[in-house]
């Protein structure tokens, strides 16, 4: 029934779902044997190939439809995790895409994400996949941002409930990445995934920029791609934080609200953090109408995202540990004598800036234009790398190449 479409690495009842229209699914019973469907679904649970939710059983014929969407060899390795001795081929990525519920035409997006993950992010040749962040106790999780015409062509949601359910491309493409991590790379919870608590975004987290209601250039254009290019960007996130600023009328008020959230002590395991600010269209219009561009937002946040010495002292984070340079109590056994975060005097108060530079802020516009609600996505480590075509510092990014048509 499922052939040899295994989901792992290459090295190694009731059909009604809700309302009356969903009840029409019973019609499927006349076409296929329900017990066979149930057996296939249970098979994948038994193999440990799911994220806890049922998966779509792959077949060789359906797999061929996915592979036909890209000009890549099925055996090409598109993801490697050398420190775990694991890898993922195009074929295995396609199998996991099927299982996640993707349509075949989504597969080029999946491949582009995997390509973005291989973008060199450091002088030592590190890539996003070679990072231990995928196994971190923090529970770090990938977030991908989709830009360009592909959003409209495939029906990505970018206009409301962008972190929520209801839209197949966002839900299934994000889920594919998690299934690849689980099945191809072996990052199973309690074993190689050491997350202490994780985040709901571990199921799926794929957002698209609301370019139509943004006053600013899209992230892809900022990175040097043309306006007709479709791209995916990739970042490692920790959590999302709502910014409730429904009555803001001045950019400084809004951005101080954001900066106060970015600079919370709880986010700091080391001296610095990074963030993706998902600005709602209403907030973006407020900023742009008073002459603020993306770079102005980044510079303002870098200058104002801070916490006071008193706040860090109350949180026991004014010492710096010996090897990891984590923030620890100043009297901690591992604290370096005489070392502390950098403070500067501002308005008579000692403050610590939590962002190294504007480069550690990524700005996109997404969501509905119905309220002054934005989101700060806390990122792990530096968010950006010099991967932009224009030499700019942007997240790891790759172009989506759709076969037979302009993306």
């Amino acid at each position: 029934m499922t052939g040899d479409t295994t989901a792992g690495d290459t090295t190694a009842g009731d059909t009604t779902a809700g309302d009356a229209t969903a009840g029409d699914a019973t019609a499927v019973d006349t076409l296929i044997d329900h017990r066979q469907v149930r057996r296939a679904i249970e098979h994948y649970y038994e193999q440990g190939f799911t994220d806890g939710l049922p998966v779509v059983p792959p077949t060789e014929s359906y797999l061929a439809e996915f592979l036909a969407q890209v000009d890549r060899s099925p055996d090409e390795v598109v993801a490697t995790m050398p420190h775990l001795n694991r890898q993922c081929t195009v074929r295995v990525a396609a199998i996991n895409s099927i299982m996640a519920g993707c349509l075949p035409e989504y597969f080029p997006v999946v491949v582009a994400i995997l390509d973005a993950l291989r973008v060199d992010v450091g002088a030592r040749g590190a890539t996003r996949f070679s990072s231990g962040l995928w196994q971190s106790t923090t529970g770090t999780v990938p977030i991908t941002v989709v830009n360009g015409p592909v959003r409209l062509r495939l029906g990505f949601n970018c206009q409301g409930n962008i972190f929520g359910p209801g839209f197949r491309p966002n839900a299934t493409i994000g889920r594919t990445l998690r299934l690849i991590a689980l099945n191809a790379l072996g990052l199973k919870p309690h074993v190689l995934d050491q997350s202490t608590q994780g985040t709901p975004a571990k199921y799926t987290c794929c957002v698209a920029e609301n370019e139509e209601e943004s006053p600013w250039e899209p992230l892809s254009v900022e990175a040097g791609y043309g306006p007709d290019a479709s791209t995916v960007s990739f970042m490692m996130m920790r959590s999302t934080m709502h910014i409730e600023a429904r009555s803001a009328t001045r950019p400084e008020h809004l951005l101080n609200d954001v900066a106060n959230s970015v600079g919370r002590t709880g986010v700091l395991y080391s001296e610095k953090t990074a963030c993706l600010v998902v600005v709602s269209p209403e907030h973006a219009q407020l900023l742009a109408s008073q002459g603020w561009g993306k770079n102005d937002v980044k510079e303002y946040l870098a200058a104002n995202a801070q916490c006071t010495r008193e706040a860090l002292e109350r949180a026991g984070k004014t010492g710096i540990s010996r090897d990891m340079h984590w923030l620890v109590p100043s009297d901690h056994p591992d604290a370096l004598a005489g070392e502390e975060p950098h403070f500067e005097l501002r308005g008579g108060t000692e403050v610590h800036h939590v962002l190294s530079s504007p480069d550690d802020v990524v700005v996109i516009v997404a969501g509905a234009a119905n309220a002054g609600v934005s989101t700060v996505v806390e990122l792990m480590g530096g968010s950006s790398a010099p991967s932009g075509r224009g030499g700019g510092r942007v997240p790891a990014m790759s172009e989506i190449l759709l076969r037979g048509a302009s993306a």
Partner: protein
């Protein structure tokens, strides 16, 4: 010679397996260590010493 806390035993064993070192010997100590005071850490280290030396092939 690797030392980790007992909460990471399963991960450490899996890592060893992935690299072809099934049964690789390492030492575990009680979790946690990040929030211990120096005397408590010293006690943990002293308690683990015999096992560390045994793995290294040292007899006292």
């Amino acid at each position: 010679m690797s030392v980790c806390t007992d909460k990471f035993r399963m991960t450490a064993e899996a890592m060893a397996r992935l690299h072809g070192f099934e049964g690789y010997r390492f030492v575990t100590v009680a979790h946690p260590i990040a929030s211990l005071e120096l005397p408590e850490l010293a006690n943990l280290a002293a308690g683990a010493l015999d096992e560390v030396l045994a793995i290294l092939g040292v007899t006292r």
